[in-house]
């Protein structure tokens, strides 16, 4: 159990809802759910959700902390915003799902080898490093996300697509060496560092 997780367990004994309200993006909305289920029915990857949003909200109220935070469900969110558009109570469900996912990750409870979680890291690193996405590098590291041998297989499988992209000038080998990036990288790094610190420092204080 990560230290932070330990700290949170102690801080919010038996009140997971309060914890979510304090620490999760848009978490204060969770209590407003009236269990109509429109979000759950609207999700394009619905069938892949172990627990759909409205059920997650109920589980949060019921204090099922481990089950919620270690669930793969939130990671199924494709950010299609159907749930937000339809929710009769106006809950920002997409953001709450993102918030729960990243909070679970922060506490080290997110499921291991969750592909979207890993992809998220790769993506973020690319941004943090270059200020802009380096599609080629992301693609390659994606292939190798699950180890070298699997990576080769993936790379071969994806070769056709890669070639097509190159051929249509929608990807360039030069990307691998440098490629698209911002000028003020140091500034961006500073900014992100500060932002991360702020969030880390306030994570236990939001909503208070």
């Amino acid at each position: 159990m990560s230290d932070m997780n330990q700290a949170m367990v102690e801080k919010y004994r038996s009140n997971f809802l309060k914890e979510v309200e304090a620490n999760v993006e848009e978490g204060t909305w969770v209590k407003m759910c009236m269990q109509c289920g429109v979000c759950s029915g609207s999700c394009p990857l619905g069938p892949h959700w172990e627990h759909p949003p409205q059920e997650l909200f109920m589980m949060i109220r019921a204090g099922k902390r481990e089950e919620v935070l270690s669930s793969s469900s939130m990671w199924m969110c494709t950010s299609c915003y159907n749930c937000i558009a339809r929710c009769p109570r106006g809950l920002p469900i997409t953001h709450i799902m993102h918030g729960l996912a990243s909070y679970a990750k922060r506490l080290g409870l997110a499921p291991q080898n969750q592909p979207t979680s890993k992809f998220g890291d790769i993506f973020w690193d690319s941004i943090a490093k270059n200020g802009r996405v380096n599609e080629l590098k992301i693609g390659v590291s994606l292939y190798f996300m699950n180890g070298f041998s699997q990576g080769i297989k993936n790379a071969l499988a994806g070769r056709e697509l890669g070639m097509a992209m190159m051929k249509t000038k929608r990807m360039s080998p030069t990307e691998y060496f440098g490629g698209h990036k911002c000028k003020d990288l140091s500034g961006i790094a500073k900014m992100l560092k500060k932002a991360k610190e702020f969030e880390a420092e306030h994570i236990t204080k939001f909503g208070e």
Binding site: K31, M32, Q35, R61
Partner: protein, 747 residues
């Protein structure tokens, strides 16, 4: 009557002139109807036609026969003061229901001739009704019950300019409302809590010079009628006081369902399991702090909705008390404000209307937890309590710990004893329904004390509709009880919260005021609002059989010491059920009597047995069956030319003599059409249709005596929407007569 002068006016408009020989109708009116004047007019309802009639009235016509459209049409044009009016329905009732063919012409004309004869006959026996003057204008109103409903009624009546006698059996005003810690605001936004303002209301009542408050007082006796209720108030000390009031509002509220009937939910087992009222009192007493019975702070409170409600289980309430979800949300907010946690376990969360969703959201914003679930039990767990329930969303059996459990038990109306229980027991015994009889006997044994102590032939209190709630036509006419001039308001009428009770009491106040005003003028109350006719009887003919006093749906008729009926005009709704009940036919209204109908059916020309022209008498309730017949005409539904339709005030007013007379005078078939009876009755006089059906079930003997087929007399429950069905019923009767043959009783 020497001074009687009938004027018959035959309209030729709307195709009547084209389809009928109106000259012949006029001569029928003169020759057979004994009309002094009989005039035809191309367009009777226009200014000129109306003037023609008015001129005749000025010239001495006392009884006006309008042979034109239905009595429901052109009422503005054909309303003449000071004369009796009867209408022959030649349009909706004749030409619009008959085909415009040469073959049909003869029978259609005969139909019209008969309706003119009938209208003349009716007019001949009509008198202009006038009020009895039995009571004058009394602008004092008795309000029974000093809770929020009663106080509202008192204040509203005073504000309207009426005097109020407010009776409260306890030593203080305010009732349940006064015991509330906080309330919901009276207007939007509703997602906040407001201070209880009952105290201010009590002060306003005490300060109001038009309101006399009687504490520790009950109603020992209520006699009389609207406009002259003679009430005896009894105080705890034994003193008594007689007052006279014009109308009564019963706002006796409710008692909380006894939660000790719910041991499985911990009712009566732990002092920390309480009903909503007890919780409210506790919070109020502690100024907002939530404390357990041992005085320690309660951190977790669980609210169990629908406790012993919405259930057909023995001893439970079959209804939903409506307010409990809102109340639990309010109380859960007390807990949140005191820093605790509150969970509401519900099946359906019922917070309807504009304020309801605001209240629900308000509770959620405040952090109240809501869980759709079914509680299976509440038990002690260590120092606290444990609620076992099935979480319906997470589909699992689970438990939640609580320091206090609040059971949302229901409202039991404080409506007094059911005045008809003895009759119901008798009926149940007759029907051999032992189970029901037992249940009723138990109810009778545990009946509460009377509230009004009515000195009425039919019992001491306002009749119940269902589950002890005092009501009757609760959809269209929510205030109509079955005791004229006595209106119930608040939870005694239907489960409701304080906000609705205030609305309800305000409306009931209007009805009480209306009752005072109408009584003074001798005007009937709903549904025959404004009717001045009232029943009287020929004492020398009366056999004191008491049927009228027993069968009156409104308990209007008392008996004097000799057992003769006493009518109490102002209690009477003018339905004529008494008239229908009377075996010796001594009861009548000025403009509606055994004669006005009897003479109509006798006035019909009766072709002989071999004419192949049967005659079918249709006695149709004027409230639903008759309008449906009109609409059948408007939509050109054909029905038998042999039918002769007579509208009646209520099927309950049908006296079996009419049937016997009809059969004796050669009618081949008789059809009675009334409204739906039974639990979901639609009869505007509650019991009229039911009584009629009961009486007709006995007509068979008569038929056997005359040795006629039973099928010749049929009674139907119809609705105003049976526009296709009713003509069918008539046509089926014609067909039936074709099969079983004509009546031999033709002269």
């Amino acid at each position: 009557m020497a001074d009687m002068k009938i004027g018959a006016y035959i309209c030729q408009g709307c195709g009547i002139g084209d389809r009928l020989d109106t000259a012949q109708l006029a001569s029928v009116a003169k020759r057979e109807g004994k009309a002094a004047e009989a005039r035809e007019h191309a367009f009777l309802c226009n200014a000129e036609g109306v003037k023609m009639i008015q001129d005749d009235i000025a010239a001495g016509v006392t009884h006006v026969v309008i042979a034109a459209c239905s009595r429901r049409a052109k009422t503005e044009a054909f309303s003449f003061d000071g004369v009796a009016i009867s209408r022959a329905n030649l349009r909706e009732g004749v030409i619009w229901v008959r085909p415009d063919t040469p073959e049909a012409a003869e029978t259609t004309q005969e139909m019209a001739d008969d309706y003119v004869r009938m209208a003349c006959a009716e007019a001949k026996y009509m008198k202009m009704p006038s009020a009895s003057g039995e009571q004058g204008l009394v602008r004092d109103i008795l309000v029974v019950g000093g809770g929020i409903s009663g106080m509202t009624a008192a204040l509203e009546a005073a504000k309207t300019g009426y005097k109020v006698e407010l009776v409260e059996k306890t030593g203080a005003l305010g009732g349940v409302a006064a015991q509330m810690f906080k309330k919901y605001p009276d207007k939007a936004p509703y997602n906040v809590l407001a201070d209880n303002t009952t105290g201010a209301m009590i002060d306003a009542v005490n300060a109001n010079s038009s309101i006399t408050v009687h504490l520790n007082t009950t109603v020992a006796k209520t006699d009389g009628a609207p406009g002259r209720f003679a009430v005896t108030l009894a105080t705890e000390s034994g003193a008594s006081k007689d007052i006279t009031v014009g109308a009564i509002i019963q706002a006796t509220g409710f008692t909380q369902y006894d939660m000790s009937k719910l041991p499985e939910l911990g009712g009566g087992k732990s002092p920390d399991v309480m009903d909503q009222l007890a919780f409210e009192k506790m919070v109020k007493a502690n100024g907002g702090a939530i404390k357990k019975s041992d005085g320690s702070d309660a951190k977790n409170v669980v609210f169990v909705q629908c406790a012993g409600q919405r259930s057909d289980a023995e001893g439970h309430l079959p209804y939903c008390s409506g307010h409990c979800c809102m109340t639990s949300i309010k109380q859960a907010r007390y807990v949140k404000e005191a820093g605790g946690d509150a969970t509401v376990i519900f099946d359906d969360l019922r917070t309807p209307g504009a304020d309801g969703e605001d209240v629900y959201r308000g509770g959620q914003e405040a952090g109240v937890a809501f869980s759709k679930g079914k509680v299976s039990g509440v038990e002690a767990a260590g120092k606290g309590l444990k609620v076992n329930y099935t979480d319906k969303i997470l589909a699992e059996d689970t438990t939640i710990n609580a320091d206090i459990v609040v059971l949302a038990t229901g409202m039991v109306p404080a409506s007094g004893p059911n005045p008809y229980i003895a009759q119901e027991i008798e009926a149940a015994d007759k029907a051999g329904n032992a189970g029901l009889a037992e249940k009723l006997k138990a109810e009778q044994a545990s009946a509460p004390v009377s509230i009004l102590n009515l000195q009425y032939r039919q019992g001491t209190d306002v009749p119940h509709l269902k589950s002890g709630f005092t009501d009757s036509h609760f959809i269209c006419f929510p205030y109509e009880t079955r005791r004229t001039g006595i209106y119930t308001a608040g939870p005694v009428r239907r489960p409701m919260d304080a906000h609705q009770a205030i609305e309800d009491a305000t409306g009931a106040t209007l009805k009480a005021i209306q009752a005072c005003e109408n009584a003074a003028l001798g005007r009937a109350a709903h549904p025959r609002s404004g009717d001045l006719s009232f029943p009287s009887f020929r004492k020398e003919g009366c056999t004191q059989c008491k049927r009228c006093t027993v069968e009156c749906p409104f308990g209007a008729i008392n008996e004097d010491e000799k057992g003769f009926p006493q009518y109490n005009e102002a209690r009477c709704r003018r339905c004529g059920t008494c008239m229908g009940a009377c075996p010796v036919r001594v009861i009548s209204f000025e403009n509606y009597s055994v004669e006005t109908v009897g003479q109509q059916l006798k006035a019909v020309d009766m072709p002989d047995e071999f004419s192949e022209k049967p005659r079918l008498l249709v006695l149709a309730c004027e409230n639903d069956a008759y309008p449906a017949l009109d609409m059948a005409g408007m939509t050109k539904q054909e029905y038998s030319a042999y039918a002769r339709i007579i509208p009646v005030r209520c099927l309950g007013s049908v006296n079996t003599i009419w049937i016997t007379d009809a059969l004796n005078s050669g009618y081949d078939g008789v059809i009675l059409m009334g409204c739906q009876k039974g639990d979901n009755y639609q009869c505007h006089f509650v019991k009229g249709s039911e009584m009629a059906h009961y009486r007709m079930s006995k007509i068979d003997d008569t038929l056997t005596q005359l040795n006629l087929e039973k099928e010749r007399v049929q009674t139907y429950e119809v609705s105003i929407a049976d526009i296709h069905r009713i003509p069918q019923i008539i046509n089926d009767m014609e067909k039936l007569i074709g099969e079983i043959g004509m009546s031999p009783f033709k002269f």
